[in-house]
C-alpha cells in the first residue's frame, strides 16, 4: 500500500487544492479574490447569523368551517329565491342540514340545490353532494376530495401571500417552504423585529364592507335576538362595543386594486383604497340605496370603523379611517395590497436569535475550534513524533475539505455544527491512531519496518471503516430526526467522517511512503 502510485499523489494534491480553494473565501475579506475564484462563504444558520425561524400552521379547520358557513348562506339564498319554505337550516359536524316545509317540493329543492351549489370539478360532477334524508330533510356536504384540495390550495396560496408580504417588508433573502401537509417554514435572516414579522405574516387581513342592520336594537342584542342573516361583531372603533351587520358582504378585500397609507381631513392616519370595476359598481349601488345609514368596515371579524353614508360613492375609491397610527395604517395598507390569507395562520414554533448573540456564538465557536485543534495537534505530535506531524497535516487538509465542501454546497453551519466539527477532528485522529497502533503490533510480531507500516494501513482499514460506519449511521438518523440546528450538527458530522477517513488514510499513507523513500528509514519512529 505504501508504493506511491501516481493516482494517489494526484488525488491527495487535488483534494488539498480543492479544500484550499473553496475555503479561501472564508479567510479573506469579501471582494479580495479575483472574479474567477470561488466566492462562496460558509452559509451560517440563523443561530449564528441572527434571524427568525417561524413554523406556521394553516388552520384548515377554520377554513372548513368558513366554507360550510358560506355554503349555508348559499342554500338560504337559493331556497329563498325560489320561494321555498324551509326550517332548521344549520351546520352539524361536516354537513349542512335543512328541512323543506312542503313535502311535495322536496324533490324540486333537491334538484335546485344539486344544480346550483358549489363548483364544477375537473373530474366531472360538483364539489358538493346533496341528498335527501327521511322527514323532508336535505343534507348538503363537500366531497372529501374537494375539501382536501381546498386545504392544499390554501397552503399554496398562503405561501405566495407570505412571500409578497415579507418582500414588502424588505427582509433580506427570506426562505419560505412548505413542510408536511399544512405547515409553512419561514426563515428570515437579519435583525428584523420578529414580532413585526409575525404580525405582518400572521394577520389574515380579510377585509369586508358590510351594511349595519339598524333594525336591531340594543335590547335585542342584550337578549341575544340576532336575526339569522345578521352577525354580531366586536368593534375597535371606540364608539360602540359591538355592531350588528348583515352577513352578506357588500364588497370584499379581493375587489381592491390598491391600498396605501394616507390621512383624513383632520390629518389623522388613514388607509386610502380603490376598487376594481365590480367593486366600484357594487359599492356605488349600495351607497346610493342607503344614504344616511351606517356601514361597517370589518377586518378579520372586528369592526374598525362604521361611517355613515353621506352620498353615493361612485368613484370607486375612498379612505378607511379608524384608530390608526402612521405605522399601523401603513401596515394595513400593505396587508390589503397583498391580499387576505385564505385561512388563519398559527405560529407553532419560533426561534429568534439576535445578530449580536449570533456573532458571539461565532466567536466562541471559532475559539473552541482553534483551541480544540491546537490541543489535538500538540497531543498527537507529542504522542507519535514525526508520524504525529503527518497526522496533523492530514487533519489540516481534513479541515480545509470540510469547510470547502460546506462552502461549495452551501450546507448550513449551525452552532451545534461547530461542535460537530470539533468532534470530527477527534474521530479523524482515531483513524491514524488505529493505523499507527497496528504498525506497532506488526513490528512486535517481527515484521521489518517497511512491511509493518504497509500492513498497518491495510489491516487497520477494515476496523476504520467498521468504526466509522457506526458514526455515519448515527449522523443519518440525526439528520432525519432533527430540526435546523441539529440537522447542521448531523451534516457536519457526516461530511467530516467521510473526509476524515479519506485524509487520515490516504494523506498519511502518501506522506509515510515519501518519508520511507526519502530517508531510506530502517525503523519506525513510533516504536
Amino acid at each position: 500500500m505504501l508504493a506511491l502510485s501516481r493516482w494517489k499523489i494526484v488525488l491527495v494534491l487535488v483534494s488539498a487544492l480543492f479544500g484550499l480553494v473553496f475555503t479561501l473565501p472564508n479567510l479573506v475579506p469579501a471582494g479580495a479574490l479575483p472574479a474567477w475564484a470561488p466566492q462562496q462563504r460558509l452559509h451560517l444558520g440563523l443561530d449564528l447569523q441572527g434571524g427568525s425561524f417561524l413554523l406556521l400552521e394553516v388552520d384548515t379547520t377554520a377554513l372548513r368551517k368558513e366554507r360550510l358557513t358560506n355554503l349555508t348562506e348559499d342554500v338560504r339564498t337559493k331556497l329563498q329565491a325560489e320561494q321555498m319554505d324551509f326550517g332548521g337550516l344549520g351546520v352539524s359536524g361536516d354537513t349542512i342540514d335543512v328541512r323543506i316545509s312542503d313535502p311535495t317540493r322536496v324533490d324540486a329543492a333537491l334538484k335546485l340545490l344539486n344544480n346550483s351549489l358549489g363548483e364544477r370539478l375537473l373530474t366531472g360532477g360538483r364539489d358538493v353532494t346533496v341528498e335527501t334524508k327521511p322527514d323532508q330533510h336535505i343534507r348538503v356536504s363537500f366531497v372529501s376530495q374537494a375539501a382536501n384540495a381546498a386545504s392544499a390550495d390554501a397552503v399554496t396560496r398562503s405561501i405566495e401571500i407570505i412571500r409578497k408580504r415579507i418582500d414588502a417588508l424588505g427582509t433580506k433573502e427570506p426562505m419560505i417552504t412548505q413542510q408536511g401537509a399544512n405547515r409553512i417554514v419561514v426563515q428570515a435572516p437579519g435583525e428584523s423585529d420578529p414580532e413585526k414579522l409575525k404580525s405582518v405574516i400572521g394577520k389574515t387581513a380579510k377585509l369586508t364592507f358590510e351594511m349595519v342592520d339598524g333594525d336591531v336594537s340594543a335590547e335585542d342584542v342584550a337578549a341575544g335576538r340576532i336575526p339569522p342573516d345578521d352577525l354580531l361583531l366586536p368593534s375597535d372603533d371606540g364608539f360602540a362595543p359591538t355592531y350588528v351587520v348583515k352577513k352578506r358582504s357588500v364588497v370584499t378585500g379581493e375587489m381592491l386594486t390598491s391600498a396605501s397609507g394616507s390621512h383624513d381631513e383632520n390629518n389623522a392616519a388613514a388607509v386610502a383604497f380603490s376598487f376594481n370595476a365590480v367593486g366600484t359598481q357594487r359599492f356605488g349601488q349600495v351607497t346610493a340605496q342607503n344614504i344616511g345609514k351606517p356601514f361597517a368596515i370589518v377586518l378579520d371579524g372586528r369592526v374598525i370603523s362604521a361611517p355613515r353614508i353621506n352620498s353615493a360613492i361612485t368613484g370607486g375609491s375612498g379612505i378607511i379611517t379608524g384608530r390608526f397610527t402612521e405605522e399601523s395604517a401603513h401596515d394595513l395598507a400593505l396587508l390589503l395590497k397583498t391580499g387576505a390569507l385564505p385561512a388563519p395562520l398559527n405560529v407553532v414554533q419560533q426561534n429568534t436569535v439576535g445578530a449580536e448573540l449570533g456573532a458571539d456564538a461565532v466567536k466562541a465557536g471559532t475559539i473552541s475550534i482553534v483551541i480544540g485543534s491546537a490541543l489535538i495537534f500538540a497531543f498527537i505530535i507529542l504522542s507519535y513524533g514525526l508520524f504525529g506531524v503527518f497526522a496533523a497535516i492530514a487533519l489540516v487538509v481534513n479541515m480545509l475539505m470540510i469547510v470547502g465542501a460546506m462552502s461549495l454546497t452551501q450546507a448550513t453551519l449551525t452552532l451545534p455544527g461547530i461542535a460537530g466539527i470539533v468532534l470530527t477532528l477527534a474521530v479523524a485522529v482515531d483513524a491514524n491512531v488505529l493505523i499507527y497502533e497496528r504498525m506497532r503490533d506488526e513490528v512486535r510480531a517481527g515484521r521489518p519496518a517497511m512491511s509493518a507500516a504497509d500492513a498497518g494501513f491495510s489491516r487497520a482499514l477494515t476496523t476504520i471503516i467498521d468504526a466509522n460506519v457506526t458514526t455515519l449511521v448515527a449522523a443519518v438518523i440525526m439528520f432525519q430526526f432533527g430540526s435546523g440546528p441539529v440537522k447542521g450538527f448531523a451534516l457536519t458530522l457526516f461530511i467530516g467522517v467521510i473526509t476524515s477517513v479519506f485524509t487520515a488514510v490516504l494523506i498519511t499513507q502518501v506522506l509515510i511512503g515519501w518519508w520511507f523513500r526519502a530517508f531510506r528509514a530502517k525503523a519506525l519512529p513510533i516504536i
Binding site: 398559527n346 466562541a364 489535538i376 477527534a426 474521530v427 457506526t470
Partner: protein
C-alpha cells in the same frame, strides 16, 4: 523519551475480566439509580419537548430587576414562570408556559410588550417558542431516533460480526445512553434537542469503540483457536488499550476546549459528550465484552468455564 508513545509498554497484561463482576455491580447500581431518577426528580424537559417560551433579554448597562419582571409576568396569568439572571447581571432568562388554548405566538408578543413597559430599555436577544403541537411530535421523534439508532447498530454488528456480538454492543449502548441520562438528571441539565443529538453521537462513538475491540477479538479468535474466551477478551482489550487511551484522550481534549470556550448554549452538549466518551470507552471493556462471555457460556451449553483448558498433548 519523545515521542511519548514509547512510554506506553509494548505489551500490557491487565486482567480486565477479573474486575467484570465489580464493574457489573457498579453499572447496575448506576443504571437503577438513573431509572429511579427518571421518576424522581424526573427529567428537566426543555421547551422543545414540553412546549412553552424562553426569552433572553438584555437591559443594557443597568442590571435586570428580576422582581419587577416576575411581578409583570404573574399579572399575565401564565403557567410555570421562571425568571433568572443568565451569565451577567444585565442578562436575564425568562421561561413560561403558554396557557392552554391561547395562541403562543400572540402571548409572546403580549409578554414582550409588558416587560418592555416595566423595564424601559430592553432588547430581546433570543426568542424561542414551541407550541404543544410541535413538542409532542418532537418527543415521539426523539425517542424514535434513539431507538432507531440502537436498532440499526444491532443490525450492523450482527451483519459484520455475529449475533452475540451485536447483543453485547446493544446492551452497552443502552448502558451508555441510560447513564448519560443519569448525568443529565444529576446535573439538572435541561433536556433539549441538542442533548438528543449528543446522545446519538454517544451511540455512534460508543459503537465505534466497541467495534475496535470486537474487531480484535474476532481476529484473535481465529489466531488462537484454543484460548478460552475470557483470556481472549483480556488479550484483545490489552492489545487495543493504547489506541483506546490515545483516541479517548484526543476526544476529551478537543471537547474540553468546546466545554470551556464554546459558550453557554453549547456547554450542556459538550459536557454530555465528554461524559459519553468516558462511559463509551468503559462500556466497550466492561459491558459489551462480558455480555459475550455470558452469552458464549450459555450458547455452548458448557459448565462454569467457557472453554476448559486443553490438557497438554503427550
Amino acid at each position: 523519551m519523545w515521542p511519548l508513545i514509547k512510554l506506553i509498554p509494548q505489551k500490557t497484561h491487565f486482567g480486565f475480566v477479573a474486575f467484570a463482576r465489580l464493574a457489573a455491580t457498579l453499572s447496575i447500581v448506576a443504571v437503577l439509580a438513573t431509572v429511579v431518577g427518571f421518576f424522581y426528580p424526573g427529567l428537566n424537559l426543555g421547551i422543545e419537548f414540553k412546549g412553552g417560551t424562553v426569552l433572553e433579554l438584555n437591559t443594557g448597562t443597568k442590571p435586570v430587576d428580576l422582581g419587577k419582571v416576575r411581578e409583570v409576568l404573574n399579572g399575565l396569568k401564565l403557567g410555570d414562570v421562571q425568571v433568572q439572571t443568565f451569565g451577567k447581571p444585565n442578562d436575564a432568562l425568562v421561561r413560561f408556559q403558554t396557557p392552554a388554548g391561547a395562541n403562543s405566538g400572540q402571548v409572546v408578543t403580549q409578554v414582550k410588550g409588558a416587560v418592555t413597559q416595566a423595564l424601559g430599555q430592553v432588547t430581546f436577544s433570543r426568542t424561542d417558542v414551541v407550541g404543544p403541537e410541535v413538542s409532542d411530535e418532537l418527543k415521539i421523534k426523539g425517542v424514535g431516533a434513539l431507538l432507531a439508532a440502537i436498532g440499526l447498530m444491532l443490525l450492523y454488528i450482527w451483519f459484520r460480526f455475529e449475533l452475540q456480538f451485536g447483543l453485547g454492543a446493544v446492551v452497552a449502548l443502552f448502558h451508555d445512553v441510560t447513564l448519560s441520562f443519569g448525568l443529565i438528571l444529576l446535573l439538572r441539565l435541561e433536556f433539549s434537542l441538542n442533548l438528543v443529538a449528543a446522545l446519538l453521537t454517544i451511540i455512534g462513538y460508543s459503537m465505534n469503540d466497541t467495534v475496535v475491540v470486537f474487531d480484535r477479538l474476532r481476529e484473535n479468535r481465529r489466531k488462537y483457536k484454543r484460548m478460552p474466551l475470557r483470556e481472549l477478551i483480556d488479550l484483545s482489550v490489552n492489545e487495543t488499550l493504547s489506541r483506546t487511551v490515545i483516541t479517548g484522550l484526543t476526544a476529551l481534549l478537543a471537547l474540553s476546549g468546546l466545554a470551556v470556550f464554546g459558550g453557554e448554549s453549547l456547554r450542556p452538549l459538550s459536557i454530555v459528550l465528554l461524559f459519553g466518551i468516558v462511559i463509551g470507552t468503559y462500556s466497550s471493556i466492561y459491558v459489551a465484552s462480558p455480555i459475550i462471555l455470558l452469552w458464549g457460556v450459555k450458547a455452548d451449553d458448557e459448565p462454569a468455564k467457557p472453554i476448559a483448558p486443553q490438557p497438554a498433548r503427550p
